[in-house]
Symmetry: C2
Subunit: 96 residues, 2 copies
């Protein structure tokens, strides 16, 4: 039996992720190269830093905040958020 591990690529291959589902829910684990990105959500997202750091401007906030390894931020559905990546960073995203 073959399980599909789907690889997605965004922003001219500067962000790549692998989708998975398990007892924790629907997830992607991915990597962001150095750069600045804007993401939109279609579900609530729990973004956890696996290695590195993300500096994030969350919806309706005016100050950028940096999240490091082990930290999580939440973005509600149907919103967009901006991310600055100063070093290549691995993340886990859980969708609700």
């Amino acid at each position: 039996m073959s399980t599909e591990l789907t690889v997605n690529s965004y922003f001219n291959d500067q962000v790549k992720s692998i989708g998975l589902g398990n007892s924790e829910g629907n997830l992607t684990v991915g990597v962001m190269a150095v750069g600045e990105y804007e993401f939109g959500t279609s579900q609530r997202e729990y973004m956890s830093i696996v290695s590195g750091a993300l500096t994030v401007l969350l919806p309706n906030e005016s100050e950028w905040k940096t999240f490091v390894k082990g930290e999580t931020f939440i973005v509600e559905a149907n919103l967009s958020f901006q991310v600055k990546v100063a070093e290549t960073t691995a993340y886990l995203c859980r969708y609700e």
Copy 2:
């Protein structure tokens, strides 16, 4: 500037990973589908569970041990270890 995020695939696409390098070192973040695998190391590997669990038979050990989210096991260079995956699992591997 484009950074290369290399995607690797193993075991008939049942294991996929994305390579990255940052202040933590040389890393891969990846996903293992349900199954049983044997891996060989060429460097010391620090394997951390990002989501899910891996049941591992480490080199020179006779008992399988299960590692869950947040836990890490270490395998020295030039050894092999066996892994049983009961649910799709994301991991971070750091190479030394």
